[in-house]
């Protein structure tokens, strides 16, 4: 089991104002965590509505549903008008995570030695919410894998439905 970057969305979303330094190098003002939050949100929190209000509300046709039902925001089209954030009935999309200049996270793959951890982990002021460690996917603990390098702690909506029954 290899190490994964781990973020706790539940906590993250309570600290919207904090910006974490990132060591992604192509763009100096990059904040990779923001892109990870968007990725995680669309993968786990979004209800994947059939007739998605967010998609309909987008004046730029920047949001599209992928074949697997997840949302994708196309960065060449989005003008960061935040209409989608207001349209979503579940409050899934936070205005803070859809910036105009998109950020990128490459998981620091090429510059991470065995002992090191990414800059964002070292520098996040809210303790323990970004981490780089070996994790197991444990849905019962609300820990899910997104992609190959990311693990997220967040309440999955399916689970909420199950509790409602």
């Amino acid at each position: 089991m290899s190490k994964r970057l781990f973020i706790d969305l539940e906590v993250c979303n309570k600290h919207l104002e904090v910006a974490v330094p990132c060591s992604y190098f192509y763009h100096p003002d990059n904040k990779g965590v923001i892109s990870l939050r968007e990725l995680a949100t669309f993968a786990i929190i979004c209800r994947q509505c059939d007739e998605a209000p967010c998609v309909k509300s987008c004046p730029q046709d920047a949001l599209e549903k992928q074949e697997d039902g997840t949302l994708k925001r196309y960065n060449m089209r989005c003008i960061s008008c935040k209409s989608c954030a207001y349209a979503c009935p579940f409050g899934t999309i936070l205005p803070e995570v859809i910036p105009y200049a998109v950020s990128q996270c490459d998981y620091c793959l090429d510059r991470l030695g065995e002992a090191e951890e990414p800059l964002c982990v070292k520098r996040c002021p809210v303790e323990g919410m970004v981490d780089y460690r070996e994790v197991k996917e444990e849905p019962e603990k609300d820990i899910y894998f997104v992609g190959e390098h990311l693990a997220v702690h967040a309440r999955h909506w399916e689970k909420v439905e199950a509790e409602a029954k």
Binding site: F25, P28, D110
Partner: protein
């Protein structure tokens, strides 16, 4: 020249020197080489295959400084780019000025903006910026440049 020939000739001639050939699209070809093989390859492409020297560009990729020499084959509508990676700590490569006169300025520019040392360049001084800026050891196009 027919297009297959061009690529084939390059491959034949430079065979073992080529690290990788990447045909991105029918009109764009990238060839990776070691820094020390660049002069001979450039000379072959420019002098023997009669390509037009378009320009050179450099990128800071954190571990390396990547230099690309772009050559245009106008009759074939193709651009061939020779790519090489230089050590970021001490980026150095042989100057092409003795082969292609037109590289003089662009090498000076890369020297100034990325800190690459072109060996045997006839006039490797600043091209663009004032004498007192940026501070020595700072190169604007490097990622860690603080301005």
């Amino acid at each position: 020249m027919v297009e297959k020939d061009m690529l084939k000739e390059i491959k034949d001639k430079l065979s073992e020197k080529i690290l990788k050939v990447y045909e991105k699209s029918p009109r764009r070809i990238y060839i990776d080489l070691k820094p020390e093989d660049i002069p001979s390859a450039a000379s072959f492409i420019f002098k023997d295959l009669k390509a037009r020297f378009a320009t050179a560009s450099g990128v800071d990729t954190r571990k390396h400084i990547e230099i690309l020499y772009h050559f245009a084959f106008d009759s074939l509508s193709k651009i061939v780019s020779l790519r090489t990676l230089l050590d970021r700590e001490k980026p150095e490569i042989e100057s092409l000025t003795s082969i292609i006169k037109g590289t003089e300025w662009i090498e000076r520019e890369i020297h100034e903006l990325l800190g690459v040392n072109f060996r045997n360049h006839p006039n490797l001084k600043k091209l663009l910026m004032a004498e007192d800026y940026p501070p020595p050891g700072q190169y604007p196009l490097r990622r860690d440049f603080s301005g």
